[in-house]
């Protein structure tokens, strides 16, 4: 493999505590190394910013609901298609880009790892086929567990060991990465025409509460010692006053400690926290509760969060929170698709326009920025747009601009039709913090990598780590003349290396790299009861046999990277 040396760049690496010093980064055989030979190819990064490849902790980029969006929104591809060009295959779509465009766009912005945030286990084969067809970036997928019949039945009887054995089996057969929970109990309740809007609303038939599902899954997750923690989209998403449910959810993590060999410290990851930080009783008195939520997270070190920034675009919402999507189509009267996933989960898809002329959308925009600006520890707060729910991931450079420039935020606030309402219902006007490049590297690299249990592999530039490196046309020594320059610099990298292969040069794709699928192989003690239960449920309820369920082998996961976990001795 080629050797490279990236010379004279301003390096920002929280893993080694490097804050913009001029340093050379050496790459050999796919890894960061101390030094390389004189024959190494020199990349001149003078006057540029060098960071590790960015890590996406939560995006909906592969699988049946993403594809449902693509199928039923041909208009999303209108005027957004790009023809074949050099290494790039044709692509299209704005909020739900094709798999190829997804890989290219992430890479061009300096992202080298991304997590698909909600994999319906029954359709894991579809998820993996799309992951396989998304070039360059390493990807993993989180199977959803929060409305799963097995989980609810075991946890009703407090059978943590059986829950853990089931999780281990399911993650192994679906080639999953972590335990995801979406509206715990609520999606199943909706099949009965109901929902769970608080952590204490019982799930019909199963007679278990969201609180019991959440604590049981945290316990099972730590029993197994998985790389990532429970990854939760709590109940009552997106409703005025939902922050109380969010705080109730966060409190459930109290008393739990992370137990794993991957360096992860949290036991709960609260995703798209923007959607869960709303006060008020209706859309008229709708207000931000970002302070209440971040105050709690700031003082509880066993929780990490991501933002879910609203980008003020036309986009496509999609979530395993089926009842929420039904609620949303009732609000905006746009087309709605719904998918039921048998014993496991469900999902819905609705287009949405976050208009700067609508006060609620503008307040949502402000909350998404308040959260990272109020979080004291950037290692525990990561930038996402919950792509495509709050906006397309291709808008990260704009979110970065808003975070790094109070002037850019002020300009946007002034452009809102209901500026006064945004200022009265949120505290965005009084926040003058500007995120530094070092903090940005924490929020987009070192932080999410640590939360995912990948800290030894990616998110940093320490010798021995994977050579995922992004070089931006951004000179930290020069004052920013125009905030738009920040957006431009983070939109298209000067160079991107993925596992030591140069994949982007001057904003253009030059290689499709060696894309890997990250998954967790967790071994547990033999559990005949769980195996019998699985067998029985397949015979009685599933529409397919077990033999057709597993995502295995060369076809679905052609280039796996397996994180081994041994829970047989617990």
């Amino acid at each position: 493999m080629s050797e490279y040396i990236i010379k004279n760049g301003h390096v920002f690496d929280p893993v080694q505590g490097i804050k913009g010093d001029k340093k050379d980064i050496a790459i050999k055989d796919g890894k960061i190394v101390d030094k390389v030979g004189s024959g190494a190819k020199v990349i001149d990064a003078t006057g540029k910013t060098v960071m590790a490849g960015a890590v996406e902790i939560h995006a909906h980029i592969a699988g049946p609901k993403v594809n449902m969006g693509r199928i039923y929104r041909p208009e999303d591809k209108l005027f957004t298609c790009t023809p074949t060009k050099g290494m790039e295959r044709m692509g299209g779509g704005n909020s739900i880009p094709t798999t190829f465009k997804t890989g290219y766009e992430y890479a061009k912005m300096g992202y080298t790892t991304a997590m698909e945030a909600a994999m319906p286990p029954l359709f894991s084969r579809h998820v993996h086929e799309e992951i396989r067809d998304t070039p360059i970036i390493d990807e993993g997928a989180f199977p959803v567990f929060g409305n799963n019949w097995f989980v609810m039945e075991y946890l009703k009887n407090k059978e943590i060991e059986n829950t853990a054995a089931y999780i281990a089996w399911l993650i192994r057969v679906t080639k999953g990465y972590a335990v995801k929970v979406v509206n715990p109990g609520g999606t199943e309740a909706w099949a009965w025409g109901l929902n769970c809007l608080s952590v204490n609303d019982p799930v019909p038939y199963f007679d278990i509460t969201p609180a019991e599902i959440i604590t049981g899954l945290i316990e099972a997750n730590e029993y197994l010692g998985l790389p990532h923690s429970l990854h939760i989209h709590p109940n009552n998403l997106g409703n005025p006053g939902c922050y109380e449910t969010t705080l109730d959810t966060l409190k459930l993590a109290e008393g739990f400690k992370a137990k794993n060999k991957f360096g992860r410290e949290q036991v709960m990851h609260l995703t798209h926290s923007q959607f869960h930080s709303y006060g008020g009783t209706n859309w008229g008195d709708f207000e931000s509760k970002a302070k209440e939520v971040t105050d709690y997270v700031n003082s509880h070190k066993n929780i990490t969060i991501d933002t879910g920034n609203v980008t003020l675009d036309e986009t496509t919402t999609m979530t395993a929170d089926g009842p929420f999507e039904h609620h949303l189509t009732g609000l905006n009267n746009l087309k709605w698709a719904n998918i039921d996933v048998e014993l496991e989960t469900g999902s819905g898809v609705v287009p949405y326009i976050y208009s700067p002329n609508i006060s609620v959308c503008a307040i949502q925009w402000a909350i998404g920025l308040e959260i990272p600006l109020m979080m004291k520890d950037p290692m525990r707060c990561y930038i996402t747009t919950d792509h495509p729910n709050a906006g397309p991931f291709t808008r990260y450079p704009r979110v970065i601009k808003w975070l790094m420039s109070a002037k850019a935020r002020e300009a946007q606030v002034n452009a809102f039709k209901h500026k006064d309402k945004v200022l009265s219902q949120t505290s965005i006007g009084s926040l003058d913090r500007e995120i530094s490049l070092y903090e940005l590297a924490q929020m987009t690299r070192a932080g999410p990598a640590k939360s995912l249990g990948l800290a030894s592999m990616c998110g940093g530039l320490k010798p021995g780590m994977d050579a995922d490196v992004a070089v931006y046309n951004f000179n930290p020594d020069k004052p920013v003349a125009n905030p738009d320059d920040i957006e431009l610099a983070f939109s298209r990298c000067a160079h991107v290396f993925k596992s030591g292969v140069e994949v982007v040069t001057n904003g253009e794709i030059v290689s499709n790299g060696h894309k890997r699928t990250l998954w967790v192989n967790v071994k547990v003690k033999d559990n005949p009861q769980v195996m019998r239960d699985i067998n029985e449920k397949f015979l009685k309820y599933y529409s397919m046999t077990q033999a057709n369920y597993e995502a295995l082998g060369h076809h679905f996961v052609p280039n796996p990277y397996t994180l081994e976990v041994d829970a047989t001795q617990v």
Partner: protein
């Protein structure tokens, strides 16, 4: 106003996507520069000059530019695509998406225009002297934003699904219209001087349809609301008034539910 005349000299074997034939794309260009603009035949991109002779030159702005299209352009799509000002005259018939996404100016098709003419049109005037195809002034596939402004006049007949998801503007059909008129519409006005078939105003939320001739089958979701004397496009007559679609959601204005209106000449 300056005039550019483009004449088909080398008809394409496949359909030609000529999304550059508009006063906006031509403005400020000489004949030679216009001949360099791109067109797509199938998946092959080539120059305009390969298919068309170009004479004259464009004005400095779109408003100062008139384009006359001569020759057989029956297999040419997207004439007048996104035009905002100026004039475009097509002397014969044209294929799909004539005047699609136009926002201003005047476009005249002397022959027939195939499907999707005036898709998502926002302004300007589109006149079709022959017949219009299906989905006239409708939304793009999957979209919920159809024609929202401007005026379409069809002197012949129109196909099916005209005014689908229409939001505003005016459409006049001198002849007959096929099935599905103003499906899902939330505004705008459609006048059919000839006959309509069926599914007139299905799932219509708001907006108005006038039919001078017959309607084969009325939608069950439309309710009679009396008779009324109206002047429509210069014609004074008595109309039977229907409101609907009762099966669809409707907005409220000042406490009153706003229905879509269907007027049929008696």
């Amino acid at each position: 106003m300056e005039t550019v005349i483009i004449t088909m000299k080398n008809p394409p074997a496949l359909y030609l996507e000529a999304d550059n034939v508009s006063p906006d794309a031509f403005a400020g260009k000489t004949a030679a520069q216009i001949a360099e603009l791109h067109v797509h035949e199938g998946n092959v991109t080539s120059t305009f000059g390969k298919y068309f002779d170009v004479s004259g030159h464009a004005g400095a702005t779109a408003a100062d530019t008139k384009i006359i299209v001569k020759g057989d352009v029956k297999k040419v799509k997207y004439l007048g695509f996104k035009m905002s000002a100026g004039e475009l005259v097509v002397e014969g018939s044209t294929d799909q998406y004539a005047g699609a996404w136009m926002t201003g100016g005047k476009m005249l098709v002397k022959g027939n225009a195939d499907a999707f003419a005036g898709t998502a049109m926002k302004g300007g005037e589109l006149t079709i002297e022959g017949n219009a195809g299906n989905y006239l002034g409708a939304a793009y596939r999957g979209d919920w934003r159809g024609m929202s402004g401007g005026r379409i006049l069809v002197k012949g007949n129109a196909g099916s699904d005209i005014g689908m998801y229409m939001l505003g503007g005016e459409m006049i059909i001198n002849g007959n219209a096929d099935v599905h008129v103003c499906t899902h519409a939330e505004g705008g006005k459609v006048i059919i001087k000839g006959n309509a078939k069926s599914k007139v105003g299905g799932q219509m939320v708001d907006g108005t349809i006038y039919v001078f001739g017959s309607i084969d089958t009325m939608m069950p979701g439309f309710k009679p609301a009396g008779e009324i004397e109206l002047e429509v496009d210069g014609v004074k007559a008595k109309f039977a008034h229907y409101i609907g679609d009762m099966g669809e959601r409707h907005k409220k204005k000042k406490g009153q539910i706003v229905y879509a209106n269907l007027y049929k000449k008696i």
